[in-house]
Amino acid sequence: MSAVPLLSCAIWLPIAAGLLVLAAGLAGNAPLARKFALFGAAAGLFVAAPLYFGFDVTTPAMQFVESKPWIPLFRINYHLGVDGLSAAFVMLNCFITLIVVFGSRVSSQKYAPSCDAVFLVMSGLFNGIFSALDGMLFYVFFEASLIPLYLLIGIWGGPGRVRAAFKFFLFTLMGSLPLLVAMIYLFFYSGGNFSIAAWHLMPIDKVSQTWVFFAFFMAFAVKTPMWPLHTWLPEAHVEAPTGGSIVLAAIALKLGAYGFLRLALPVVPDASREFAWIMVALSLAAVVYIGLVALAQMDMKKLVAYSSVAHMGFVTLGIFMLEAPGGASAASSALGIEGALIQMISHGFVAGAMFFCIGVLYERTHSRQIADYGGITRAMPKFAVFFMLFSMANIGLPGTSGFVGEILVILSAAEYNYGVAFVAASTLILSAAYTLWMYKRVMFGPVTNPAVAALNDIDVREFLVLSLLALGVLGIGLYPRSLSEIMRLSVSELLRHIAISKVF
């Protein structure tokens, strides 16, 4: 479309900036490194903006496509492009990166340039995942993005960081090896092709579909994370620095669900439909089980981490309400998938904001224990307003972004299977219970801890970051069309595609 390879820029600009930051940091020039970091993050958002604002909503086809041979021997191509499923994620990723880099001094006592560098490199790799149209390219980005997160937790994390980083790495590795096997299998099956588009079109027999589906499942369910593969997440969140937690929740968790949409559903539609009930059951388990577990948490970060798992349960639920036993219409499946996509974007803002808020408190008191707080509202009224807004978004109050995905998924579920809707709707009660109870214990009541009385309210930088996140939360909540219009045609196209059996 345009002469500028925007997607390549969105990938490599942040990575290049990250390397410059690293170099400047190693040279001991921290101010210069900081400038590079801010510039890189801003440039990333700048090149990503046209992807969103210049997006052609009248076609479900791939846009901003770039294609060059990469490893001709195996017919691996450097093939990029975005459609309605992925465009918004690139934008979200660049936005969150800017937020994290801009707000990163909150999280670390002394400014660490290499930390910013890691964020930038990671941002580029994430963009790569969302725009890769070649299976091997996807896999390379998917795996490479593991490393910066691992470093973030392992180097800049809390006291239990080594164990947490190791657990995180093992879990995700356990998932990615089957993914690699599946990719290679598909390569041979398709007659030597790594193009995802080709995989979409090729017929696959039933047994192979099952194998490939469960390989995908291992990779993406760990990443999402789906119950019961979620136990690495709370630990990773607790140990990760604030910025790491934000990126982990806002972007990294979306990779799994995105993988289901980009690979599992269209490549192995018959297996996806056949095993959808497993996915629905695991999603519901996540909503209820995790909701209850969140209620019992005493550590704020752990609580929000568990709440993320429950919210992601809603995402996978929305994706896999494919064909009901009674025959759910395509319209209701579309509602579910759109709901899931919007829920993912919304969760990026809301969970990111929640972790930022916890970071603001942690920065001041060095505690994440709910019991150490109480009466913060008195000391930090401005902060209290933001935290209330994001808590309400976490609960899914209408007018905030959290509501949109939730209601679409529940409406879709009511048509799919009323029992599913019944269980899913329990999130209304559970999410309100754990979120408000935490808010009450942290923010309300008399000040009992003398350290709390001495707290300073948020400064200008924190105010700016929180305002930007609030703008996103309210913007999506009040005008979700800004997202749904982009997604609509791609979702219908996807559903049309997977309705046709590939078994020959």
Partner: protein, 670 residues
Amino acid sequence: MGTQGLYWLVPLAPLFGALVAGVFCRVISRRIAGSACILGVAVAFAASVAIFLDVREGGGFDGIVYTWLVSDESVFGIGFLIDPLTSAMMLIVTFVSLAVHIYAIGYMRDDPGYNRFFSYIALFTFSMLMLVMSNNFLQLFFGWEAVGLVSYLLIGFWHDRPSAAEAGMKAFLVNRVGDFGFVLGIGLIFAHFGTLDYTSVFNLAEKYRDAVVPLFGSSGFPLVSVICIMLFVGAMGKSAQMPFHVWLPESMEGPTPISALIHAATMVTAGIFMVARMSPLFELSETALSFVMVVGASTALFMGFLSIVQTDIKRVIAFSTLSQLGYMTAALGASAYSAAIFHLMTHAFFKALLFLAAGSVIIGMRHEQDIRYMGGLRKYMPVTGVTALIGSLALAGVPFLSGFYSKDSIIEAVRMSEIPGSGFAGFSLLTGVFVTAFYTFRLYFLVFHGRERFFAARGKQDGMHAHGFSRGQAPEEPPWTMTAPLIVLAIPSVIAGYLFIEPMLFGGFFHKAIVTADSHPAMERVFGHFSSPLEMALKAPGSAIFWLTAAGILLAWFLYLARPAIPAAIRARGGVLLEFLENGYYFDRFYAAVFCGGARLLGKGLWKAGDSGIIDGLFVGGSVRAVCRIAGLLRSLQSGHLARYAFSMAAGICAIFSLWFFIHMNWIKP
């Protein structure tokens, strides 16, 4: 376009005020913040009047004005449905809201959260208007949740008080349990009707009258009945019907003006409004109506009993509100939707009046709320005393006052109803009349008449900041900004019933907005006995209702003015029944133990046993242990002992050479 702009103006003017007061709450003065909100609400009131007049001339509107989301075949958006029912609600909401705004200038005078308070109540007005003006279920839900949010914020307004924070959360969570049903009702509508637009749903409903659907994978459920009951569960949460009533008494932790506005006049009546709005659906389901009626009648009676034993001035009125909401709900069950809305209106006036009078008393008494430490206040606070008497008479249902007309109509309608449960409902409501009159005048006499008890020394209680009086000091009437709204509300409390009973109940004002099936002729039969408001009041002594009211008032007088020793003796003696009532039938303790305790316990159990025990311990830990064991075996191969290495090497070389030798000698084939 002109009228559409007017429709927009109604909710947006208060929203504008709320944003000005809220966003700039630390920058602007109290005067600006208060004025912005009051101006916004005043504009909304004026516009509502204009719309009301237009609707009376036959004007109206139904359509989407803002598209929120489009998905495949469905369009979700903000729309307005302007008809007599909506415009009546708009008038009630904006009128009471305006009175409460003005009252709050005086009431919140010394509060540091003045601007925040105004921002909240203006935001509430916006939300409530969005709720009543909606033409679809999604926006209804938006308003529904938004009023819940503001209610939560206002109950916990004094957030340093642990009890207030607790009460706010409780209100939100109990409402959410109701919303759980509400959302599922909406989901069911969407799943089967394919739209969330009121008019389309109503048009389709007739077709589904006898539809039976499989739910939960089993036998058939009558679709419309399930939808109605699910929606009504939402109404039970919002309108605090048993067993969801537990949050309302606790909501009294909030400032008194909002108790008047939100927890008496408007928000809690949202459930009543919703069911009336859904009359085309509810009329199709006898089961749902029966359920509604029994729930309402039970609430009316049993919550009335609880009001008798309260000692906090606001809690007496709060339990009375619960009971009156029960009356409205019972009317809905009898298909007397117009009577329910009529009582909603009169109740909004006199109950807001009573709450504001209570607030005036609290200020006059320097934040004392216990009626046992009041008495004889009419001497010191004449305006409050007279207006409170008017409110009490109206609440008790004394002829010619507004409450008389609306309550009598409800009782008549329930008695005329033939659906299952109407016998029980009729009995409960009739008994409730006596209870209402008794607790209302118990309150009135204890506060405004009798011995002045506020000099009695009172130990400092925690959580209360009552200052108490020493000799020579006396309670005083609060400033005019607080007494003027009392007078403004006292007027309709007297005359609204007389003026509006004919047009609202029998004059076809709600034609088309409210549908009643031919098989539910309760209201028609009531009309058959009705000639004019004057005659209705004059004929009152011929009915049991009148004498029950009189008996209630008389008994209150006898026990609390003539022989105050008797109730004191009863209280001193205690007993099972008294304890049962004072603990509110043990609902709270039951919920706290079973639901709150149970959920926490379950959560902890799943966390410790499920996450840490089984998933991490058995699966993750198990595989790690397996890896460790294998690694341990391998590790023993690289122990670092040179001798062992040398031995292994020698053994290896021997093995390879033997192998080569054997192959070479053709003893084995490779």
